[in-house]
Amino acid sequence: MIEIDCRGYSCPIPVVKTKKGIEENPGKDLKVILDTQTAVENVKRLGGNSGYDVSVSRDGDDYVLTLKPLK
């Protein structure tokens, strides 16, 4: 799965990188790794607005968001 690691980046870089990942990989599943709750909220909204189903899981201190395109 395409992985976008945004750990360490502050607003709005996680959204910018995820948006670029969505544009360069249309119709594909994406895995976005984040480390703040704010970034999770922002990327979740981006995913939802872009036609993806977004699920969130924890991996230690990090958050892993899985974006699956809605058919």
């Binding site: 750990r7 360490g8 980046y9 502050s10 607003c11 709005p12 870089i13 959204v15 910018v16 948006k19 703040t36 709750q37 704010t38 909220e41 909204r45 981006l46 607005n49």
Partner: protein
Amino acid sequence: MNFFSRLMSKKWIILFGLAFGILGALAVNWGNPANMGICVACFLRDISGALGFHRAGIVQYLRPEIMGFTLGGLVAALAFREWRPRGGSSPIIRFVLAVFVMIGALVFLGCPVRMILRLAGGDLNGLTALAGLVFGVLIGIYFLKRGFNLGKAQPMSHTAGAITPAIMVFLLVLAIAAPAFLFQSESGPGSLFMPLALALGIGLFVGFGAQRTRFCSVGAWRDVFMVKDFYLISGVIALFVGALITNYIAGNFGVEGIYHWGFDSQPVAHTDHLWNFLGMALLGLAATQLGGCPLRNLVLAGEGDTDAGVTVLGYIAGAAVAHNFAISASGSGINDWSIAAVIIGLAFCVIIGFTMQKA
């Protein structure tokens, strides 16, 4: 999702925005300068003056609202486990960007929050400023899309993260103790203020709410144009609506009131449209590159973000530069070096925009 459910998903930032607007409007009735119930840039400038970093006599006062914003953010971060000391993302660039954010704000005479409150008080110069702010944000978005970023932050010690909140506590102690070495305006905006406890209380409430809702008066415009996201802008619209309605109910637009609709003779404002526009364009661009408006950076500093802490120090330094070097505007218009400073600032931001593109 239909319109109503989309609105409900934003209910907390809308409620917070309304409360923020109501308080921002009433803060004037309670003692703060007209149309300046809350102005993050002006208040940081007043603090800079109180500490003697500049000697503009009419704008010197340790505004407790500012300390409240960071400490309210700290309380929220601790309560909801979002305290995360971090830093190291090009702090020195952030410091200089912050200087230029302040320069841009002081040429217009307001931060993006005051811009909204000025509009809600009838000051149509806020529209010119808004156009400039959006223009600057659009340039920032161009750089972001090309890959602009200031690099990753690393986790830092709790001690480092605590520095900015500790500075705010120290400033609060100074404000309460009022030692003789502080400067205090005897006339002008610096002499107009709410009772300390009220100012601090409002600051804490706003800081707490802004941390929880992620309120950001520049990010709001960025998100609309960059990703068509309307979450943050709902808070800004609510801020405007809350302040506008409150001003009418409080009689501020009435016959005996302090406000009127128009461009001319507005409180602590000028009508140099070009430099209102370009000053806020500089702010919009620099703040977009910083990742947040001045209020957002004060709140982030409360979360332990030391890059935001350095940004706050940059705002204070920028205010000193603006007043010491005849850059800051006044009700009569711009100053001797306003134009040069804004042009230098825009050039700096453009150079940073093109050169700071790490993967």
